[in-house]
């Protein structure tokens, strides 16, 4: 118990004749508070400590080791060796490139689509708002594996894949059926499409909730002042969506960075590792190649990056609710 000291110092400033007694009472107060909260918090704290915090710390330590999973075997410390190795690894370059590309491509599209559809659904004359919302949210709750099967099926090679069938046989936009998953860039397009299709419902739902939270009176007041549709949107809606937009963008960036099942179940990194992303590489280095130290080093670097991108906004998100 060291924090009660802080309170004690404040107490001291407020003219305390007997500092010793006061310090004791602050400590007692803290202990009493803990006594009350203890039965509610202890299981959660132990759970988080054992299954979240300890594994993360251990993961960071492992990143400096040549870690050996066999019981009793040596795991010598190797300093920054695992980190250095990453920069000579061609696979790592692909993984970084693809993770960044996924972020750059999908975040803006996801954001704009989410905002536009939320605004449209929220328009006054639209009926069945809840039905639209439920349908748009459906992909979110569907299994990653099943949707991955579905996308592999839709983007199958040859004329019998539905997408090829539509583009080639029906619309005639392409000259020959595309082997979507056999080529690096077409495979990436499929992965991006999959990512957006599966996650855009979240953005819509968050924006919709935020839009519904805007008091009607604000619009009424503005329309009395002579603002029309577009002006209302520009001067009332957009500014009020500011905080939500930050929240949405940060979560979209984190989501895009954490792309994993999207790749693992669709291309598994192929062709020849060209669609690999960071998380799928981290997973495979550990569980296919048993290079746990190296895998952890990649994980730490990725975690640091996410942290740096988001830490300025952490305070703001801190008290908000995820959906």
């Amino acid at each position: 118990m060291t924090v009660p000291k802080l309170e004690t110092q404040q107490l001291k400033k407020q003219h305390t004749p007997n500092p010793g007694r006061k310090e004791k009472s602050a400590l007692t107060k803290g202990l009493k508070q803990w006594g009350e909260v203890f039965p509610f918090i202890i299981i959660g704290l132990v759970g988080a400590a054992v299954f979240v915090i300890y594994p993360l710390i251990k993961g960071i330590i492992m990143s400096f080791q040549d870690y050996n999973i066999m019981p009793g075997a040596d795991s010598p410390f190797v300093g920054l060796e695992n980190y250095k190795q990453a920069f000579h690894d061609e696979q790592f370059r692909y993984a970084v490139r693809n993770t960044l590309l996924n972020t750059v491509v999908t975040v803006p599209i996801n954001w704009i689509l989410g905002l536009v559809f939320a605004v449209l659904i929220n328009m006054q004359f639209i009926k069945y708002k809840i039905t639209f919302r439920t349908l748009y949210y459906l992909p979110i709750i569907t299994s990653w594996i099943v949707v991955a099967f579905l996308f592999r099926y839709l983007f199958a090679d040859g004329e019998n894949g539905l997408i090829n069938y539509l583009l080639y046989n029906k619309l005639g936009i392409i000259d020959e059926p595309i082997s979507w998953l056999q080529n690096q860039w077409t495979a990436m397009v499929v992965i991006w499409a999959f990512h957006i299709w599966k996650t855009v419902g979240w953005t819509i739902v968050i924006y919709l909730a935020a839009l519904q939270g805007i008091p009607k009176e604000l619009y009424e007041a503005a329309s009395i002042d002579g603002a029309n549709g577009l002006k209302l949107f520009k001067n009332v809606t957009i500014p009020l969506l500011g905080p939500v937009t930050i929240f949405v963008l940060i979560n979209l960036v984190i989501g895009a960075f954490n792309i994993f099942p999207q790749v693992y179940f669709i291309t598994n990194g192929g062709p020849i590792g060209q669609t690999e992303v960071l998380q799928s590489m981290i997973y495979k280095e550990a569980f296919n190649n048993f290079k746990f130290g190296y895998s952890s080093a990649l994980g730490v670097m990725m975690g640091l990056t996410i942290f740096l991108i988001t830490w300025t906004q952490q305070k703001k998100i801190g008290r908000q609710r995820f959906f």
Partner: protein
């Protein structure tokens, strides 16, 4: 947007855009369902074939009896069900502690919680495995439950705390006057009033563990104990080109999640950042 007079033309345009959006989300599912009605789909069925099927349940029956699929279904139901109840209860208790009590280190602990949410999950899988290993719980459901519930407590606490803080403290007075303590306040006020948030969490928790693949793959070794996602992947490996079977199996696997979604949907709709907690 607030406009009272929108011309019929623009209304139709907006509806058209929304319906195209729905089509993009729904048509793939419909194509998937139609595919499950195709007979003997040993190769990729032609779209014309798929569009002219007659609905039947033959493929569902075949799949249900095949490869212990029924067994894996029950396994997953047990794992996701227990995890969901455990996560809800533990998350609610911990969130209640953070929302209603003052105690030293409170915000510090909450920051640590928050911080762990920024870190990629894969980094923790190997050490989590070693923890479960040293507890002697590899290849047990207890090990999986501990990881799902213990690992999920951070997110659920974070999610529920904000909701609990919107509940007015005055509501507690009646319980206090009856001489009730913190547990009764938790049980009789916080839990019933948080149904929307708890319902939303139930959807997340259930669909998350129902679909979880990577942790289950590392913890469960015994074939008979496998979960549905692992079974699905194996099934797909064995019958790579029989898309009718794969999707019949997939649809069976989707049903419980869709059911949970529908059951808790009402709560989910009300749940609300719409209630103004998103003001930042």
């Amino acid at each position: 947007m607030y406009t009272t007079k929108t011309s019929l033309f623009w209304k139709s345009v907006v509806y058209a855009v929304l319906i195209v959006g729905v089509a993009v989300f729904i048509l793939p599912f419909i194509y998937m369902i139609l595919t499950t009605f195709v007979d003997n789909a040993y190769t990729l069925p032609r779209p014309s074939e798929v569009f002219s099927v007659t609905p039947n349940l033959d493929n569902y029956e075949t799949v249900w009896d095949k490869n212990n699929f029924f067994r894996y279904f029950l396994n997953s139901l047990l794992i996701a069900g227990v995890s969901m109840i455990g996560s809800l209860f533990l998350g609610a208790m911990t969130a209640y502690a953070f929302a209603r009590f003052q105690f030293p280190f409170k915000e510090f602990l909450f920051r640590v919680f928050l911080f762990t949410m920024m870190i990629p999950v894969v980094l923790a899988i190997v050490p989590q495995f070693t923890v479960i290993n040293s507890l002697g719980l590899v290849n047990t459901y207890a090990g999986l439950w501990l990881l799902y519930i213990g690992g999920g407590v951070v997110g659920s606490t974070f999610f529920l705390r904000g909701f609990f803080e919107t509940i007015p403290k005055e509501l507690e007075d009646s319980i206090r006057m009856d001489g009730g303590g913190n547990w009764r306040i938790f049980w009789n006020i916080y839990l019933p009033l948080s149904k929307p948030a708890l319902g939303t969490m139930a959807i997340f928790s259930f669909s998350g563990t129902w679909d979880e693949y990577f942790v289950a793959l590392t913890i469960i070794k015994d074939e008979a104990m496998r979960t549905l996602p692992i079974a699905l992947m194996m099934f797909q490996g064995q019958h790579a080109s029989n898309w009718a079977w794969i999707f019949a199996a997939s649809i069976i696997a989707l049903l419980p999640v869709v059911l949970v979604y529908i059951i808790f949907q009402k709560q989910f709709v009300k749940s609300g950042i719409s209630e103004g907690s998103m003001k930042g």
